[in-house]
């Protein structure tokens, strides 16, 4: 019974195993980026960037059909272009970066949906917006693994300036010029991980596996490394449980994964040891000092 429920779907079907491996790889790469986005109060920037990759992926689709590398390449190009464009506009006009990103992502979303509709049908559009984690093949899996590896290495390289830029950007400016390059590299990682997640979860939900476990981690850990560990574990559990849920209840797999991540988030708001509502409600005696 337990085997049938928890193991058999993966033991019996290769597509389920590939989906699980893909979700685990995404769970290791994307949530640490999400933790930094949250700590930098850029949680919604991830959402904007996710929309921004749509027209690039759509142009790839228009030129080469449902080709993994054409769509990933197009998505990457569009994401970088918009991240850099929004940064440039915010530096040369009175607009802040979030405002220029908001403008860009709305244009991108409309443009992307229009391009997909030119060649594809509604099923293609659904694939773009919500992904198809069960269709992850060997090439897509390797792409996600590659992105996760690059992501972890670059994050290790820019760790210190990134933390400093979050907590005390003024200090970083007076001791180093690493802040700007670290910020650009970080935005690059955001785009890269969203393109990785795009295959499995589509442009609308890819940001979910990046942000929901990251936001949840704030209720379970006090320092950045602890938050990242919690976020990675939370994302892996969401991937596993979401795939099982979609298998047994015949639900679409991408939304099921994000729904599980959302459920863990809501649970954490209630019982998380750092700021969870239940601890605030429980009367506890204060300490002496």
């Amino acid at each position: 019974m337990l085997f049938d429920t928890f193991i058999a779907p993966f033991a019996d079907f290769a597509f389920m195993r590939r989906a699980l491996a893909g979700m685990f790889a995404l769970a290791v790469g994307a949530p640490p980026i999400g933790v930094f986005l949250m700590l930098r109060r850029m949680s919604l920037i991830g959402d904007a960037m996710a929309h921004a990759i749509l027209p690039g992926a759509a142009v790839g689709f228009l030129l080469a059909g449902l080709s993994l590398f054409a769509m990933a390449g197009g998505g990457l190009a569009a994401g970088f272009l918009i991240a850099i464009g929004a940064g440039l506009i915010s530096r040369s006009t009175p607009l802040k970066e979030d405002a220029s990103l908001a403008a860009f992502f709305l244009i991108s979303l409309a443009f992307g949906v229009t391009i997909v509709s030119l060649k594809g049908n509604n099923i293609d559009l659904m694939h773009f917006l919500f992904g198809s984690v069960l269709a992850i093949d060997r090439a897509a899996l390797l792409l996600i693994l590659g992105i996760t590896s690059v992501s972890l290495i670059v994050l290790a390289l820019i760790w210190r300036p990134l933390v400093l830029e979050c907590v005390d950007p003024g200090f970083l400016r007076t001791v180093s010029r690493a802040g700007g390059p670290a910020h650009v590299a970080f935005l690059g990682l955001v785009v890269l991980n969203l393109v990785g997640g795009f295959q499995a979860l589509g442009t609308l939900l890819a940001v979910g596996i990046m942000m929901l476990p990251a936001i949840t981690s704030r209720f379970w850990a006090r320092d950045v490394t602890g938050m990242m560990a919690v976020a990675v574990i939370g994302a892996a559990i969401s991937g596993y449980a979401g795939l099982l849920l979609s298998y047994h209840a015949n639900l679409p797999s991408g939304p099921a994964i994000i729904l599980v991540a959302g459920f863990i988030y809501l649970l954490s708001i209630a019982v998380g040891p750092f700021g969870g509502l239940i601890w605030l409600a429980l009367p506890r005696r204060h300490l002496e000092a």
């Binding site: 700590l39 760790w159 210190r160 907590v167 003024g170 200090f171 007076t174 320092d223």
Partner: protein
């Protein structure tokens, strides 16, 4: 030999000067108070010295120095207090000059951090999140980071504002210590009595230099009145400056 020299320096924002035509030199080991009314250009001058504001004209020459030789404590630090980081890690950031992005933190570094935390009276607070500190404790922590930075030039922008007398006295001891170690210390201050008691040299600013020299000679009532009058003059539709930049 002066370590810091200002040559016809003009600093400002959108072509409006906030510090106009400053000439002079800060000698090695100087303990210099920079005083003047609000809006006199003290913070602007410091931003120019630490390199976060480019001169509109003239220059700042730092002999044999790069930005890492200057440690800066801003008036309102741009710190995200909700960020989950401990006092220890914040103080350790002062090691950037020596360790950069990748260098490991060794036993000597840990000793330096512990000594700095002890010197500001925060022993026992190392594991506390910065968001739980009071204003005075925060300032102590930032002084500990300055200690760890071990810089040749230390620039303090109103370091004793909004903190109690005990904390001010403790932190002032560190300023004296830096001076005795031969470092250059520049501090923007409003407390004239403190300046007279501790700082041998003073620069009185009022959007341009009013006087610069030994503190007793600078802090005359005539100079202070002059500074007050000058600071209140501001012309939104000013013509281009007629004094040629060098």
């Amino acid at each position: 030999m002066p370590e810091l020299r200002f040559r016809n320096l003009t600093l400002g924002y959108e072509r409006h000067p906030a510090v106009h035509h400053l000439d002079g030199a800060v000698k090695n080991g100087a303990l210099l108070a920079v005083i003047g009314p609000n809006g006199a250009g003290k913070t602007t001058l410091f931003r120019g010295i630490v390199g976060t504001l480019r001169p509109l004209a003239g220059s700042i020459e730092c002999r044999r120095m790069d930005i890492r030789d200057i440690a800066f404590l801003p008036q309102v630090p741009d710190i995200d207090r909700s960020f989950p980081i401990s006092v220890y890690d914040m103080v350790a950031m002062g090691l950037w000059r020596a360790r950069g992005s990748f260098g490991g933190i060794g036993g000597k570094d840990r000793q330096a951090i512990a000594a700095a935390v002890a010197a500001v009276g925060l022993t026992g607070f190392e594991g506390r999140a910065i968001g739980t500190l009071s204003g005075g404790q925060m300032q102590r922590m930032l002084f500990a980071r300055l200690l760890v930075q071990d810089a040749r030039v230390i620039v303090l922008d109103e370091p004793f504002t909004a903190i109690d007398a005990k904390t001010s006295a403790d932190l002032l001891e560190l300023v004296r210590r830096w001076h005795s170690e031969g470092r250059i210390v520049l501090a923007a201050l409003h407390d004239i009595d403190l300046v007279k008691a501790v700082f041998p040299e003073t620069l009185l600013l009022a959007r341009e230099p009013v006087a610069w020299g030994p503190t007793q000679e600078v802090l005359t009532s005539e100079n202070l009145n002059k500074a007050r009058r000058m600071c209140e003059a501001f012309d939104e539709s000013a013509e281009a400056c007629a004094v040629a930049a060098e």
